[in-house]
Symmetry: C2
Subunit: 495 residues, 2 copies
């Protein structure tokens, strides 16, 4: 993973940047000493580290606007950061850029039950939204594993998912409005508390744009009534292919589980050794299927899923008989990542998504790759969504293993694309998958996307080096606008 | 409503256009005689009529690509058309443009239950998708009133809604992938059969883009299992404000009806006179609330909604005791538009959307306007979504009435925006609301949207004159790309 050469002019402008920032925010909101900057040098993808020119922590929209305008004037890049839990390096600082931390935007501004929404600042945590409305009988549906820490602003930037997105959708399906500030300091308000607006859907475009288009300063989220009841089913299989087939059959039968998660043998053992959830150690694959809704519906669906699982060769099926047991089923799944961390010095978490019907085939081919690369892989993932999270186990201190793990990961993602899937389900592209974008999009596709970026941020000041494998001067992409009367597309350089 | 002056060069190029088209498609797929072109001169917004240069009816993607490239080369504009049911004039032809009819793209290409989707051509009707999967126990959720006729391609272009969008979302929430052809002939495939892809969300941007970005040639839609049971509740109120308050209270109580429709006294009377649905003639407002799901859940929710309605002053409440009775409740609602057509020589159907909590207030103010303009208004609308469809009753033969109806409509939409709503819920902007875009978006917002248009269609060949109140040369919008080193936004002309 290579980042562009730092811009020496930007580095030279650091004193003017610091002076400008201190005119906009209180002095203690500007972090410039090297030791303190260490706290911001990486996000959830800790393999990559870089200290920024400085970190600033504004607390009003006006301050954000003034900071961006200052950076635009000084020619300094900006990396926005929520809680820094990105697994794709989305908040990785730039050596020649300012890190703009949104941690102080942590207030819930309004709870509006009649319009079934809440208006929150971007630094409110994902779980914080649910906590703000749960006593009223509501919750916020998307639930990334990092939900205790990750923020709504980051969720919008990455279009985050979670276990319950199978039934309730990703972030993009659960927001109504956003406010964002452009590099010029201009404040855009998109959407609101209403149905889809007229005109081109800029809010949809902003969701999942990974901090490349603007800095989000307010989000209006949909909230949902809490389900009347929940139950989970723990299904064991003696082959991952059988579990994969079961997932597709359940979906194909018209059942909509609230979540449907898969763990393979290495993940089961790691979790069981760690939290003693009572998982069957002899299983090759485990499915946790959660149903929610009225009790009668849940009971009926659980029986249906169990019957399908039997036809797919499930070797055991347990239904949670109480809320405690349901939570126990989930305990192992929720502890799976740290559990894998106990059995391997390092692991690399992938995030490919495939059409559900191809699950079995992809799992089989991943096992073949594992043998070929000589690296173990543990699978813990959102099977119902077709969203894989293979954890590649390696030892960063063993020479060549990191590189082998990266090559293995790239081959997995390439396979995902090959079967009709995509590079990412919920972690974003960031720096991690940036150089693989070419496996999924051709030069024309990427130029199209980059032209959107240019329309928001023509000087590539916001989070450059993320998402796009190469950055082009917007004037190149815009050449078609200049030579009118000629065919525009053949005129676009084919990179 | 003014359209730009026709381009004489394009009109002069008509013989070359016809000759080129006949090389691409069979001769009987090119419609050029004036009488036959009459069939295409307007869409669902029949107040506006215009014959195109010609109509072409391709049946393959290659043909669409060749036609667009031909028009790009000849400098001829193109208006795509599905079934022509647009209520905003989205498919209104241009005097200097080709009408590209997609009626022959009428095949269901694949039904894929394991990935819970169907792949269809854009000319398949909305109802046709449900018909293709209903024997398997599935359906397609968005259900515009025109669903017998309107096509999926048009639904994507307008981001169409319907009664059930309250619970199941608009078109944008129910599609997974689209294929579209750009003016250059380039074919873009966006999304697929999987979760949200990485990179910028161009599919989200295309949905609702009203034929301005590309011509849709394939759509992958989500399909849903049919609900186990359905029941409806007919609630009468002696004031529209009480009915409006009831809507907000039901939503605020955490209930998610499958649909929640409102009719006011003029609409009730018109419908009752027409289809004898058994509606109470003494009511000032009627709510039809539909619940779906397992029987027990539906029964419980119906009781809850009824209790809330009583506290809001409902004067009567009837629960459908059978499927026949449920359909009878809907019969009046479904016939409401033609029923209003019986009591007035002409009517004008509006489509504003407001935050639900402002319903009562907006209905009251609309009645005040009705008195002031001296024009009756009948309301039949998706109350649960806050999506209003006021029908303004007028007589086109009475001098000045059309103009008064248009002014009344504009005032309603301006009020919608004023209370935090938007100009359109599901009919699109088209030519109808084009000149009102300025009440909702400022010059900067519109320039932002138009820059997206420029990135897809820099020469404004696709459906120009729709959505944007004014068209700018893309080079003007792109000026910021050329003068680098300067602040980009102040450089954008403020129109």
């Amino acid at each position: 993973m290579q980042m562009p050469e730092p811009d020496q002019a930007a580095i030279a402008a650091r004193p003017r940047l610091l002076e400008g920032l201190r005119r906009i925010v209180p002095a203690d909101s500007v972090i410039a000493d090297d030791a303190s900057l260490g706290a911001f040098e990486s996000d959830g993808l800790t393999a990559y580290r870089q200290r920024p020119l400085a970190t600033v922590l504004p607390e009003t929209v006006d301050q954000v606007a003034a900071i961006l305008k200052l950076c635009q004037d000084l020619g300094i890049k900006v990396v926005p950061r929520g809680a820094g839990t990105s697994l794709s390096g989305g908040a990785l600082p730039l050596a020649d850029g300012l890190l703009l931390g949104m941690a102080k935007f942590n207030r819930v501004l309004d709870i509006d039950l009649e319009n079934r929404c809440a208006v929150v600042q971007p630094g409110v945590t994902n779980l914080g939204v649910t906590q703000a409305v749960q006593d009223l009988g509501y919750y916020y549906a998307p639930d990334p594993s990092s939900q205790i820490a990750c923020t709504i602003g980051g969720n919008v930037a990455e279009n985050s998912g979670g276990v319950h997105c199978l039934k309730y959708g990703l972030t993009t399906n659960n927001i109504l409005g956003v406010e964002l500030v452009l590099m010029t300091g201009e404040v855009l308000r998109l959407g609101g508390r209403h149905l889809d607006a007229g005109g081109l859907d800029l809010m949809g475009l902003v969701c999942g744009s990974e901090g490349l288009l603007g800095v989000i300063t307010e989000v209006t989220v949909r909230i949902l009534p809490k389900p009347q009841s929940q139950a989970a089913l723990l299904l064991a299989f003696d082959a991952v292919e059988a579990a994969g087939a079961c997932v597709a059959r359940v979906i194909g039968a018209g059942i909509v589980p609230a979540g449907m998660e898969m763990m393979d043998r290495p993940a089961i053992h790691a979790a069981e050794d760690f939290v003693h959830a009572g998982y069957p150690r002899d299983a090759e694959a485990l499915l946790i299927v959660e149903l929610d809704g009225p009790e009668e519906e849940v009971a009926e669906s659980i029986a249906e899923v169990e019957a399908i699982a039997r036809t797919c060769g499930a070797t055991s099926a347990r239904v949670s008989g109480s809320e405690e047991e349901r939570l126990a089923f989930w305990a192992g799944r929720k502890a799976a990542f740290p559990a894998v961390g106990r059995i391997s010095p390092d692991y690399y978490c992938m995030d490919g998504t495939i059409p559900r019907a191809r699950l079995s085939e992809v799992l089989t081919r991943m096992n073949e790759m594992s043998a070929r690369y000589g690296l173990r892989v543990a699978n813990v993932f959102h099977a119902g969504d077709g969203n894989l999270h293979p954890l590649i186990l390696y030892d960063a201190n063993a020479p060549g293993e990191l590189e082998r793990a990266e090559a293995f990961g790239a081959e997995i993602l390439t396979l995902c694309v090959e079967v009709g899937g995509v590079l990412t389900g919920e972690h974003g592209v960031g720096v991690e998958k940036r150089d693989l974008m070419g496996t999924m999009f051709d030069a024309g596709d990427l130029a199209h996307q980059e032209r959107m970026k240019c329309a928001f941020d023509p000087d590539h000041r916001l989070n450059p080096g993320k998402m796009f494998p190469e950055l082009h001067r917007c004037a190149e992409l815009g050449r078609m606008h200049i030579h009118r009367g000629q065919m525009p597309f053949p005129d676009i350089p084919r990179f």
